[in-house]
């Protein structure tokens, strides 16, 4: 399948009270198209995700209208946090079949300034990640559902709070080198452990931030004008919708998504130069490192020690700063991992550039570790 990511971009990120969801998406779309050397008039395919801050009955229609385009291929995609990576694959299928030549993928919203943080927490808790009838009445936060994963992982493999904290520290260190990132002030393991306990064993700094922002990329059948970045492989993995359904919660669907993506690309985890892992919580990264095959099962906690996932380490992870520090405006959060993978492969990352990066992995995780989409991207 011949598909390339020809352009990437984002809106202003962080706190943007003067911009609504459509403003943010418009800004991101224009940035990605300008990066590709293309114009809105050339877009004949459009993908977006649902948003939570406004009542958009038909999100992709709202976005097409807002951008002033009438694409011949369009869809609203929702595989939760895996949407960012899955969008690349869906766009690639559209260009590979000839349904479209230039597919714009764009999503984002003013998740931070639209509502108060308390309202955001309540709104997220009510979306339905916990079963509305059998689970929500007990009062789990979304972080609680991930905390259950973390607690079990600690029990089975001896993973420690310090190892979880190191994930947040490493990724914040990357955000500090990204001028666009929402949170850039460096933190230490002690800072993470001293931050407010939300739901044991997860502290405030083990959890993703909430941001305003939008991201975009352009998928085309031809390499484009910049250094080419090609989709080499992808895979999906699904295990469960509600966490109680998964009888082995320390292991995720990334096992399957990674296996399929690596097989398709014909490469192994050892070949990957930089991994943009989905980092909604620190435990997510540790489980993904194991399940994608970067280390044996249960070794993720020990793997992150010694700077191994920091820039300059053996496997730099989530080099833009991720959901933990750079941007987390809802479902679009996983798109920034794709944007960063492309920039790393082009050598455009400045102070946070991974030297000679030729092969990147971008991973999305949705629900409560239930749905995964892994991409492998490389210089064609």
């Amino acid at each position: 399948m011949n598909a390339f990511i020809a352009g990437v971009g984002e809106s202003p990120l962080g706190k943007t009270p003067d911009l609504n969801a459509m403003n943010l998406q418009h800004a991101a779309a224009l940035a990605a198209l300008a990066d590709a050397g293309l114009t809105l008039a050339e877009v004949d395919g459009l993908l977006t995700t649902p948003i939570r801050v406004a009542q958009w009955a038909m999100p992709v229609g709202m976005v097409a209208q807002g951008l002033g385009i009438r694409p011949g291929y369009l869809a609203t995609l929702d595989v939760a946090g895996a949407s960012g990576t899955a969008m690349v694959h869906h766009a690639a299928m559209a260009v590979a079949t000839g349904q479209a030549k230039t597919v714009l993928c764009v999503a984002g919203q003013n998740q931070l300034t639209n509502v108060s943080r308390d309202a955001t927490v309540a709104q997220l808790a009510s979306v339905g990640w916990a079963h509305p009838e059998y689970e929500a009445p007990y009062g789990p936060l979304i972080p609680t559902l991930y905390a259950l994963v973390a607690q079990r992982h600690m029990h089975e493999y001896g993973t420690t709070p310090e190892q979880l904290a190191e994930v947040a520290v490493a990724i914040r260190g990357h955000a500090a080198l990204n001028p666009l990132a929402h949170k850039r002030e460096p933190i230490t393991v002690a800072d993470v452990l001293a931050s407010k306990m939300i739901t044991t064993p997860l502290h405030m700094l083990d959890c993703a931030i909430v941001s305003d922002g939008a991201a975009a990329f352009v998928v085309t059948a031809h390499p484009g004008k910049k250094k080419p970045v090609k989709l080499l492989g992808q895979g999906y993995g699904f295990t469960h919708a509600y966490i109680g359904e998964h009888d082995n919660i320390a292991t995720t669907g990334a096992v399957q998504s990674g296996r399929e993506a690596f097989a398709m690309a014909g490469v192994t985890p050892a070949d990957i130069d930089v991994a943009q892992l989905y980092d909604c919580f620190t435990i997510t990264v540790i489980a993904e490192l194991e399940d994608l095959g970067f280390c044996p099962k249960g070794e993720g906690g020990r793997f992150v020690e010694g700077g191994r996932i920091r820039l300059g380490g053996e496997l730099p992870v989530t080099t833009h700063g991720g959901l933990l520090s750079a941007a987390h405006p809802g479902l679009a959060g996983g798109m920034f991992h794709v944007v960063e993978a492309v920039r790393q492969l082009r050598g455009e990352c400045g102070a946070r550039q991974v030297r000679d990066a030729e092969l990147a992995l971008a991973h999305g995780n949705g629900g409560i570790i239930g749905i995964h989409c892994t991409l492998i991207l490389g210089n064609a």
């Binding site: 927490v121 309540a122 808790a125 009510s126 916990a130 079963h131 009838e133 059998y134 689970e135 009445p137 007990y138 009062g139 789990p140 936060l141 609680t144 905390a147 259950l148 994963v149 607690q151 079990r152 029990h155 407010k196 306990m197 939300i198 739901t199 044991t200 064993p201 997860l202 509600y242 966490i243 109680g244 359904e245 998964h246 009888d247 919660i249």
Partner: protein, 114 residues
Amino acid sequence: MLPPRPTNRFMLPRCEGCGKFHFYPRPACPHCGGARLAWMEPSGRGEVYSHSTVHRAPSAAFKDDVPYVIAIVKTDEGPHLLSRVVGVSPEKVSIGMRLRVRLGDRGPEFEPEA
């Protein structure tokens, strides 16, 4: 289709074909595909599979409960279910702790086995 979950006792869906319990309720048995399902009373015993003590309430409705223990309970019959562990201080809850059900306002909850 299964009727709504009974509230006066702790019940789980059970397949009349293969005799196994499951959770969550669904149109067919996840073990054998059988469609003859009924709410049946399991032993009400199980153990903590994982747990988390919530310190920040998800909404005002839970503010007075903080801190409270959310757990995945592995029932002796097999199904896992999310619930609360009550009747014990949160720091004493651990994986593997034996539990028995009791009915609370929120639904079935679990407390340490005597």
